[in-house]
Symmetry: C2
Subunit: 318 residues, 2 copies
Amino acid sequence: MLEKIINLLRKEKGYLSGEEISERLGISRAGVWKQIENLRSLGYEIEAFPHRGYRLVSAPDRLLPEEISWELGTEFMGRNIFSFETLDSTMDFAYELGIKKFPEGTIVCSETQKKGRGRLGRNWFSPKYKGLYFSILLRPKILPQEASQLTILSAVAVSTAIKEITALECLIKWPNDILVNGEKVGGILTEMQAEIDAVRFVIIGIGINVNTEKRNLPPQASSLKEEKGEKVSRIELFKGILQKIEKYYLLFQDKGFSPILQEWKRHSSILGHQIKIIAHSKTIEGEAIDLDSQGALLVRKDSGFIEKVLVGDVIKVY
Amino acid sequence: MLEKIINLLRKEKGYLSGEEISERLGISRAGVWKQIENLRSLGYEIEAFPHRGYRLVSAPDRLLPEEISWELGTEFMGRNIFSFETLDSTMDFAYELGIKKFPEGTIVCSETQKKGRGRLGRNWFSPKYKGLYFSILLRPKILPQEASQLTILSAVAVSTAIKEITALECLIKWPNDILVNGEKVGGILTEMQAEIDAVRFVIIGIGINVNTEKRNLPPQASSLKEEKGEKVSRIELFKGILQKIEKYYLLFQDKGFSPILQEWKRHSSILGHQIKIIAHSKTIEGEAIDLDSQGALLVRKDSGFIEKVLVGDVIKVY
């Protein structure tokens, strides 16, 4: 009902009388008033003018499902949205939904996370109302060893969306960092439940520092606001990312991984560069020459020998 | 307390008086009597003789934790045992324990399963009190693409244990079938929760038709009892399998996958044979020549070309 009222107000340029709302939605005038109050408590600014009615002045900068799904225009992405003020981890919650057979495209987001996760058990810092911290449930028909293709796909989608919405140049640092001006503004985490022969479901976790102040970020991290010099709409960015992920995911299902990989190469911050990488407590130096079809990085060392790196951290790019 | 009494009676060759039990365990005579009744209701046959006391005549053929752990002698395997009369699936329950951070070697078994799972969403038929249906929680430090090594390891352990306990020759049909006299008596299922870069935990599911009658089995399936012509102790077999899995798992951690692979090759029903295999709805014929370090089967086709099969069903062995 809340969503219905807010959508009515959104469509209406001017004022909408309580009577009209009451008629269109089949609820009492007192009911309308109560819902308006509820909306205000969520942060919607709604003007009430005697004899003319209500007018939506502004929507809150909050990850409310009705804000995310408004004109989202996707086929399946975001059809179920679970939005929280606070959660231990959107990954864990999405896992539960995966086990409970929720469909592809189910989204879990939270304004803050108490135990936000990064790769390999690291933490993801999630200051409240400042970033986007969300997980997406997918059910791709792939093998476990192909799951990193979805990290690649999501990185392409996120960097494309950031560029379209903020006009900032955005690059991907293998395997899962999103960079603006060489600084990390986001990361992608892919987890799965799988048999040997088949992935049962995948959870893509995305964390983006949107409006976080630099003083509230770990060193070497930045935010879109810091890089752009002005606030960025979290809702617009969220919707843009969901749309892009759906777009690339449908492309992936239709044409396979190859077009995604091509896109990734255009966005890579390291391909063609000399890099230093730590893999299994061993340091490898060389030129990042390619990414293979399973998401492994190929590094040509000074000896000329090409090493395939499945897991690692790029610590320096020359 | 039940476990303490049964272990006292087990150690005692002759009779043990109620008074002595009461003293040794620090419980009342009435308490002893009550526990003896409880044990009887579990299926323990306990003789009571006036002025002499209690004597254990036989233990029930039931998967009780105190029976499984009695003289099990393992380091970590089976230190936690969850035993059920009935369960939807031991896999699902073990998954929950994995998420709740239970340690390696935690076991979930059930006398019957309502929704026993096989590979690729197939069913596993679990008639009550007839077979072994259990799951093992492991936390190996491996990549997702290495998880099939644990299917291989478990298949080696199961076939070795069956051979030692029943004296039946036991072979492994890639990827996960256990055969006696060419008939399927068991299967192994490996599932995991993983990041791209690291497995968080693995659940090994093992199903064995022990004392099931052929008429109660699907076609092409058999049981150890049918093949041997006499009943097999489920508890002895269970303990034997747990011991072998621990042994090979410790070897795996110490020396890597290579010695396990060698053992597997000795137990394979298909290596060196012409086979027909269905992989991704395509039929491949050729000689099964090897298994690679990620558990993929190498098939040399008539053309001489060697095909690497990651997922498939061997439908005929010549």
